[in-house]
Chain length 195, copies 2
């Protein structure tokens, strides 16, 4: 399984080799439908062209979006109504909170996602910072650089939104991936859990 | 100078020993007016009681709030109008974005601040995460545990807002402080700057 976000136990955004669990519900019909990426001889769009990043839509609830998040961390009881309410709430922030997805046109399933929200500060002369969260690529869609596509979409959005930087937290083992995406290691993350 | 947030160069939220710079404009009249904390013999409130955490008010622009942020990172050109606009924008988020401050009643200056904003997710069954940012205590107000007061206020707020955890990024050298506040080290922070 490829989880390009938090492992359930580790809560890290990028955990490449988490253990499969009963929550790994997504089973795309065939891995072979994804690779290798190549132009179709009949002039149809290539698989690469098909797998474009777009914003989350409310209909994505029925396309496995929540099941995809389950590969990242606990997310086992989100009803249709809860999804719709949270979707509307986040949508009200417009460009300040964007969730990116990649849909597999062949299966109609969401196979990659990630989000970015824009924090507005007084610091840095009323500057803005993009925060990337909850990046995950379906376990059956590995090796297609979908994670890089998602990260590229999110960083482009943060830049165009006027952010002076974009940040994220990840596990040490995923540092290399983010370096390939143009990130540099900076500080450490501290956490306090509430029970 | 005690900068309990990002050093200007390091962009870290907690940098205990940054170099003084021309931007360190806050000069409280006397350090001795802050310490030691003790009950006043005449029954007046103690200094500890005077130095309470409250939310940022729009009038704090004239109480050195921006100058305090200058001890943390670049913040040298925020006009009254820009401050008011950003204040109103952040206030519109209600409890989802709170900036805490401590004002010194004797000097009328803001001597400590920190912020927390609530990220709303689909993950963790539509869970919420508190993000602490921009914590700084005035260089002349060290040793009074104002940083802990600010952090306590912000974590209490995140808890009461229904967050399942609160996170922050800091430099390695400030790990100990946050551990005293109840945090644990988790992941690493990655950053991409836009020029």
């Amino acid at each position: 399984m490829l989880s390009l976000g938090s492992g359930r136990e580790k809560e890290s955004r990028w955990s490449w080799f988490p253990e499969p669990t009963p929550l790994d519900l997504i089973s795309l019909e065939s891995q072979s439908c994804y690779r290798p990426m190549h132009k179709m001889k009949n002039g149809c769009s290539s698989q690469e062209e098909q797998l474009q990043v777009r914003r989350l839509q409310i209909s994505d609830y029925n396309k496995g979006f929540i099941q995809l998040l389950q590969q990242l961390s606990v997310c086992d009881s989100v009803s249709d109504e809860e999804f719709n309410a949270r979707f509307q709430e986040l949508s009200s922030h417009g460009d300040d909170h964007v969730i990116a997805v990649i849909e597999d046109d062949q299966t109609g399933k969401i196979i990659a996602t990630g989000s970015v929200f824009v924090e507005k500060k007084f610091l840095r002369n009323c500057g803005k910072v993009g925060h990337i969260e909850d990046v995950v690529v379906d376990s059956n869609a590995r090796g297609m650089k979908l994670g890089q596509k998602i990260i590229g979409f999110l960083t482009d959005h943060a830049r165009s939104a006027g952010c002076y930087k974009v940040i994220l937290d990840c596990s040490v083992e995923n540092k290399g991936f983010y370096e390939k995406c143009g990130f540099k290691r900076k500080e450490i993350q501290m956490v306090m859990y509430f029970n």
